[in-house]
Chain length 301, copies 2
Amino acid sequence: MTSHVLAADIGGTKLAAALIAEDGSVLRRKEVPTPAAPPGGSEVVSDALTRLLREMTGDAPPVAVSVASAGPLDPRAGTVSPVNIPAWRDFPVLARVSEVVPGVPVRLIGDAVAAAAGEHWRGAGRGSDSMLGIVVSTGIGGGLVLGGAPFTGPTGNAGHIGHVVVDPGGARCPCGATGCVETIASGPSMVRWAHAHGWTGADARDLAEAARTGDTTAVAAFHRAAAALASGIVAVAALCDLDQVVIGGGVAGAGDVLFTPLRDAVAARAHMAFIRRLRIAPAALGRDAGLVGAARMALPA
Amino acid sequence: MTSHVLAADIGGTKLAAALIAEDGSVLRRKEVPTPAAPPGGSEVVSDALTRLLREMTGDAPPVAVSVASAGPLDPRAGTVSPVNIPAWRDFPVLARVSEVVPGVPVRLIGDAVAAAAGEHWRGAGRGSDSMLGIVVSTGIGGGLVLGGAPFTGPTGNAGHIGHVVVDPGGARCPCGATGCVETIASGPSMVRWAHAHGWTGADARDLAEAARTGDTTAVAAFHRAAAALASGIVAVAALCDLDQVVIGGGVAGAGDVLFTPLRDAVAARAHMAFIRRLRIAPAALGRDAGLVGAARMALPA
């Protein structure tokens, strides 16, 4: 087996792990549902992660271990407190991983940054100098690739496009602000708005299907989300001189019902010449993006 | 004379040039008013720049020449089209500079990025990992220092905080969008708002003086500008994981009447924990920031 990185991707819904080769190919991969565990039940989740990592380790040790996790997290302390894993608060995930794979460098990265790095390395963002990756699902995460390299920021928190305010008079966000991109364009936010306007389906997947068949409220919900995302994207483009945006996550799986109004809304807001070159593409790596990107960030530049 | 960089700073009001030593000290410096010249009169301006550069050159040739300029500009083509210098449209400023100082590497940088780099190197942003520099005067410019190094973006246009939209229902901006930070917080925008609300002074300097003496409308104008700047700053902080903001330019010279409401407005909007460490400081280098920063960016890292 070629030299490889052991990567993990920790989220509120699933735990995934993979062996990733130096060229980005996925040599082995497995995921399991994240066990439900109350506050205090941290071992239930960490035992599941430990089992998963043990199943991944091959004959040769990995050159590094790289953990992508839902936030908040503290990459320097190696601890995570994922909003949707209440059993883990300041949980020392890197220390736990080091017990499974001792003697190997370990690294902790925000999951949206890892996904952006993966799409930039092997997915829809290849060749970009200045890229924003967005994950639109239950929440909205983001990651930047600047000057061709993932930009984590000093505390590991760069890329928070979900909490850029685009409607100052809008709805309260769990983060404490009002009118964040996430309050309009996340899956649950879109469904909530559609319900308030008479739509009766169950979830964001149904909403996309309804939009595809021309349901007026569903189409309007996607246009509204597209406008919010476009405002955030244009702000990031003005600040970071972006040439590429890559959008993944469950809501992005809706396809043209999201991307067509989104491209129109960005074009309508992209007044400065340097922003007009911006390309917007759906993510290409699906559920592997975070694993592949985490591996990339653990390899030498 | 120690080895040094010849730096120029080109704006609509003044042309400045300096010799800057490798430690950032200013060895020689001069500025002249930017000559008024109509479209087509490019030589009037470039002759003034040429004379200024010749006066700066010493016995030893500089190791590099670095030109900071008002935008728009194209660093790769070496051309500038400053909004407030109508005589220069796609003017090949680097080619002209090379005629004055042949055989030396030349570099072109946006003036707000150069000012941010200067404040980071020798001014109020020293030691920051992730800094936004803002210049608040007739317009609002910005520059980023990320991972401790100036970030220009692939086209040289990164840092455009003046055109982040903070009031989507607000006033039309010359850039074509509505509600940009610049439409609220630039000097002329503040004065325009104050006039519409009964204040009768002349300019932003008068407005600051009126605010210091407690004039209700002037104080409100600064609070309104502070709120717009704070919204933009918090968005950049969420995206770039900022630890420092440095604000210069004529309006920033107002001091506490701007900085006190600005710090309050940022604190009120900084909901995510990693943003709360953000420091906001007035610029320390005054009119030298752009020259010093341009020199820094021409020296080896």
